[in-house]
Point group: C2
Chain length 315, copies 2
């Protein structure tokens, strides 16, 4: 069994590679829900949806979120009514949120609903939210100290505002969703996907029982740096690391993960950092990490699994 801690787009791409090198049913994705939001009364789980849509083959690869061939009838009508349309929800995507919200209103935990959606969409893998308890990623803006919700920062402000601090509201008392700890404990390899270490993987590790479970498997934990040559492949990971006083490089990523992760996979562009990463007490594997195609993703998936599987003598 393989267990992958996952954020959104980068994680979804890697997972799509992993299912080419392991049977899909052997793969469990534990997905960040710190970005979850309620808008128009609807419970939206952006990372879960990105993972599910991508694995099911419905994802929009160009846009990186939502569904391919999506239509926008509802949003267009909502805009005409003067409604909030800054968070774009496609018509078919809305069906997912309607389904999730209805089931939660009936008392179903998010994990149960996620299993249902994952099966109906046809991901082939097991998708688990990190927790059934609400955790809200909040960012303190440097400009005025105001704290904003993740989606306001990420979508409305286009992650273009310096940040002082990041909080995971509710994480302290959140329990891992059913199956999460077991998936980590029983995995042959635990993968930390190339997602934003601060706001995608951060919330997962902030759930109290998750970090120790991952740390206990440190030797078989493999992370892929989402930062290549000092730049995030997508999103604000580089800026966030810098703004939080860390180095916006694979080294910053390594320092974030060193307690829980034995191996860091870095891109060939960052080969020069390999020895410094190793000096932190991690194994370091240099490989092409930019996934332009499904084949790139499968090749990277193989590298990651090999790096985490015993004998693990590389250093």
């Amino acid at each position: 069994m393989i267990c992958a801690l996952a954020g959104g787009v980068g994680a979804a791409r890697l997972l799509r590679g992993l299912v080419r090198v392991v049977p899909p049913q052997d793969l469990t994705a534990v997905v960040n829900t710190g970005d979850d939001t309620v808008l128009h009364g609807l419970h939206i789980s952006p990372d879960i949806d990105t993972v599910c849509y991508t694995l099911a083959g419905w994802g929009d690869d160009t846009r990186g979120w939502g569904l391919a061939g999506e239509t926008w009838t509802v949003m267009t009508a909502l805009e005409a009514l003067g409604g909030q349309a800054w968070f774009r929800l496609g018509d078919r995507d809305l069906a997912t949120h309607l389904y999730r919200t209805q089931r939660i209103s009936e008392g179903a935990p998010l994990s149960e609903v996620t299993t249902e959606l994952s099966r109906q969409l046809g991901t082939g893998i097991e998708v688990l939210p990190m927790s059934d308890d609400p955790v809200h990623t909040r960012l303190e803006l440097a400009a005025d100290g105001r704290e904003v919700a993740f989606q306001e920062y990420f979508v409305r402000l286009r992650h273009d505002e310096p940040v002082n601090a990041v909080h995971f509201e509710g994480a302290d008392t959140a329990a891992p969703a059913p199956g999460v700890t077991a998936a980590i404990e029983s995995a042959e390899v635990v993968v930390i996907c190339p997602s934003n270490p601060v706001v995608s993987i951060g919330p997962i590790l902030a759930v109290p029982e998750v970090s120790p479970a991952v740390a206990a498997r440190r030797d078989t934990v493999v992370a892929i740096s989402p930062i290549v040559a000092g730049k995030a492949l997508k999103g604000p990971a580089d800026r966030l690391l810098l703004e939080l006083g860390e180095e916006p490089s694979v080294l910053g990523v390594a320092r974030r993960y060193v307690e829980v992760c034995g191996t860091l996979v870095i891109d060939e562009a960052d080969a020069g950092y390999a020895d410094t990463v190793r000096s932190l007490g991690m194994r370091c594997v240099v490989a092409p990490t930019v996934m332009r195609t499904a084949t790139d993703a499968a090749v990277l998936g193989k590298v990651v699994l090999d790096a985490g599987r015993p004998p693990a003598g590389r250093r």
Copy 2:
């Protein structure tokens, strides 16, 4: 000023006639919210929407609910996910529910949101919910005494189940929405639209301050019977009256309204009832009441206004 107590389709048709014989800005519709429901997390106000869509010219006249030229992308996708699709929500209709739910979640009362929607849709009239407080129409099924919500009875069971009793949960403590009492008090004519007397007009009159306000204007209150020749023009009004031990005819309607209403307009098909209605202490006007066209509705609107306007010597 004209104030109309309104349910769904029948009311919307009459209102469309009234705006041809009075300036739209002189017309206030006080609309039933006992049918309001939360589905998929969305606050749905079916009667308000029917009134707004019809007055704005967006209504689907053939189907009698929803928007003309509607698309069903979200519902189709929701069905594919195994979601609840028995309550059909079109794509553009959904935008209304998203807007309403978001505004209510921000703390706006339903009346404020309804004013916004009415203006954005372009109804031209003032549309008020009967109350900003939740009132839930519930029906006790004769078969097993089980109590069901209005939409379950009306849509899911297709109002095809005998009913023992009807309750308006929350009505006891509901206050009229801002403007409702004033609209009734200041109206030249108060119109009770040809809506279901039990489940459409019933909830409005069940709001404690509304009945006395209407009764105080009894001489200028004109109701139109929604029952013609013993049959409801639409929906289960005839069956409900019968099941509740009342007569499924204009006489049953007259008895329902006699305390609050001075004049009942009945269809020519029911002319034979006129004297019996009068014997209850109401004026009775016989006129064509079936609104097949907008012109029919305008003619009926004129009849209704004439019947309510002083000098009111007809009996």
